[in-house]
């Protein structure tokens, strides 16, 4: 019935000719489309070139320095090609973990405050402060760490370094966590409160799990960002060729120290980090150190890449889990 009606319409409707020069216009459109599509393709490739160039160049230059000793031994002194950068790897891990511990809990609480009380003076000040803080040069934050921790304590330390890094990380965490918490339907919090839940339990058990994938991305990106920082560490953790957590733990046990005492002792040491080592080694006249510096650069890039991949993997897995 419908087909019949349609075909009737088709045969009775006069076909207008000559107003739209379909063929000519089509060719022109195709040419323009092809041209601009080509331009965007070329530009995309151009934008990717530096990225792969840097990674490829560092990989090629750094690969010869990579061997087991590179990851397991301390530096053997300037001019020596043997030995590794265990001190810097352990230092970077220690600084990153500690700074995360210092920055994540207050950052998360601040984000909740900013979302739940956006129009109070404290909420406004918090968001404004986070924006300002994210624009402060990292070397200034290093100086701040020096004045706050190093000067009163009288020595450089991992503690001072990680506090400086935590300050650097704080605005990233606050702003990403705030955005992610804002995305959680208000309905969810209302549902928990309607059951008689106190605000903190609703936030911790309902809102936080709903936002956790995004918040974790923020954490990991923040950690990745600070694990590549050099400037704030120059004034705070200084560097330490002999830093080796295993040795410090052994020495601590031998002298009968308890676990918290050993931990305290470790974070009071000046520590090295990968970016600091990279900076120091490139200042040296010895080819062995230049070679090792390339190796350090490679390890650093791979480390940060791994953080990013982990963040993305986490997000996709959590999203799948919430969908069920």
């Amino acid at each position: 019935m419908i087909t019949q009606a349609r075909s009737t319409l088709l045969f009775t409707t006069p076909i207008v000719k000559g107003f739209i020069q379909a063929k000519k216009g089509r060719q022109r459109r195709r040419a323009i489309n092809f041209f601009w599509l080509g331009i965007t393709g070329v530009v995309t490739v151009l934008a990717l070139v530096p990225l792969f160039w840097i990674i490829g160049y560092v990989a090629v230059k750094g690969a010869p320095a990579i061997n087991l000793a590179f990851f397991t031994e301390l530096p053997q002194g300037m001019g020596s090609a043997s030995g590794g950068v265990l001190n810097a790897i352990e230092g970077t891990v220690l600084l990153t973990v500690l700074s995360g511990l210092f920055a994540i809990p207050p950052g998360l609480l601040a984000a909740f405050y900013a979302v739940y009380h956006p129009n109070t003076w404290l909420g406004i000040a918090l968001r404004f402060g986070a924006d300002v803080l994210s624009g402060v040069p990292s070397i200034v934050i290093g100086l701040f760490g020096y004045a706050l921790v190093v000067k009163p304590a009288g020595h450089f330390s991992a503690l001072a370094g990680s506090i400086a890094l935590a300050v650097l990380m704080l605005p990233i965490i606050i702003r990403t966590a705030e955005e992610m918490i804002k995305l959680v339907p208000k309905n969810l919090r209302a549902g928990a409160l309607a059951l008689g839940s106190p605000e903190w339990r609703a936030a911790l058990q309902v809102t936080l799990p709903a936002a956790i994938s995004g918040i974790m991305t923020g954490f990991l990106l923040g950690l990745a960002r600070v694990s590549g920082e050099t400037a704030p560490l120059l004034f705070t953790s200084l560097g330490n060729d002999r830093f080796e957590i295993g040795r410090l733990v052994q020495a601590g046990f031998r002298s009968g120290q308890s676990f918290p005492e050993i931990l305290y002792n470790i974070i009071q040491q000046p520590v090295d980090s990968l970016p600091l080592t990279l900076y120091k080694y490139t200042q040296q006249p010895f080819p062995a150190q230049i070679q090792q510096a390339w190796g350090v650069a490679l390890v650093l890039i791979v480390l940060i890449l791994m953080f990013n991949i982990a963040a993305r993997y986490w997000v996709s897995r959590q999203a799948a889990k919430n969908r069920g």
Partner: protein
């Protein structure tokens, strides 16, 4: 002797505190005071300087379904949220008048809001299962109130899901995420979650407006089975739904000051067939709204 007199005194004072609202009748018989769940007395509500509700006095009978209908923006949801103090969450709001729940003024300063919300559960317009398993969704409430034993929780979860007519559909996948269920199942999960804390009353804010007709029907059937144990107050835009499910209907409108007021309250059959008020008649017959 002393105990008896003090108990008697308490009852008297309770009756005195609870004001007599416009008389509610069931099939012509006045409703006994004890079978009223909520009594609202000259209630007014403000969002900042804007008055949203004015002069609302109403007695909501226990163990029945009461529907609140009226055009958009007349304060239906606001009125509903005054019944479990959910409006407390909105900053700069203010309430005048009293709301009695079983004779207790829920806005008096010595009342614990947590206790009010345990006694008066709520189901929202959009299903809002928590991002956790079905089991954890239902046991969230009981855990808040200190139930920790696994066996007890198991029992509460099963009972609540059965009451919400969801048990048969989910009993084999209690550890799955509540968000993986269909919309209608999610809404019944939210009802089970509200039932798990053993409330006296359940408030429903357009519980079926985000659902398809079959899921809506299931929710409506569920309400009929629940009303023997719970007082249900439902806000709905859908007049057919109000006529189908409720036994009492409150019709609201905005007055000349743009504040929501109660126009008429009575048995649903009477409101829809023999409304006393002209505005009610115009609304239920579809002349406006």
């Amino acid at each position: 002797m002393q105990t008896i007199s003090s108990t008697a005194g308490e009852v008297t004072s309770r009756e005195l505190r609870q004001p007599q609202s416009p008389l509610v009748t069931i099939k012509g018989e006045p409703l006994p005071l004890t079978s009223s769940k909520f009594v609202l007395s000259d209630l007014a509500f403000y969002y900042g300087k804007v008055q949203a509700l004015a002069g609302i006095s109403i007695t909501i009978p226990a163990n029945h379904i009461t529907a609140i209908i009226g055009p958009s923006g007349c304060g239906k949801s606001t009125l509903l949220r005054t019944l479990n103090r959910m409006n407390d969450l909105i900053p700069k709001t203010r309430i005048e008048g009293q709301v009695f729940l079983d004779g207790d003024d829920i806005y008096s300063p010595n009342v614990d809001v947590v206790d009010v919300r345990r006694r008066v559960g709520m189901v929202f317009q959009r299903p809002n299962p928590f991002p956790m398993s079905i089991y954890d969704n239902v046991s969230y409430g009981p855990r808040l109130y200190g139930v920790t034993k696994r066996a007890d929780l198991d029992q509460i979860v099963e009972f609540s899901l059965q009451q919400a007519a969801l048990w048969d559909e989910v009993k084999d996948k209690l550890t799955q995420s509540g968000m993986a269920l269909s919309g209608g199942q999610q809404q019944r999960l939210c009802i089970a979650r509200a039932l798990a804390v053993e409330p006296d009353a359940i408030l429903m804010d357009e519980p079926a407006s985000a659902l398809d007709p079959i899921a809506t029907l299931k929710i409506e059937e569920l309400m009929q089975t629940l009303k023997s144990s719970y007082t249900i107050v439902i806000v709905t835009h859908n007049m057919q739904q109000a006529a189908r499910v409720s036994e009492f209907t409150a019709f609201m409108m905005i007055d000349q000051n743009r504040a929501g007021t109660l126009v008429e309250f009575g048995e649903t059959a009477q409101i829809f067939t023999r409304p006393k008020n002209r505005q009610t008649e115009d609304y239920v017959t579809g002349r406006f709204g």
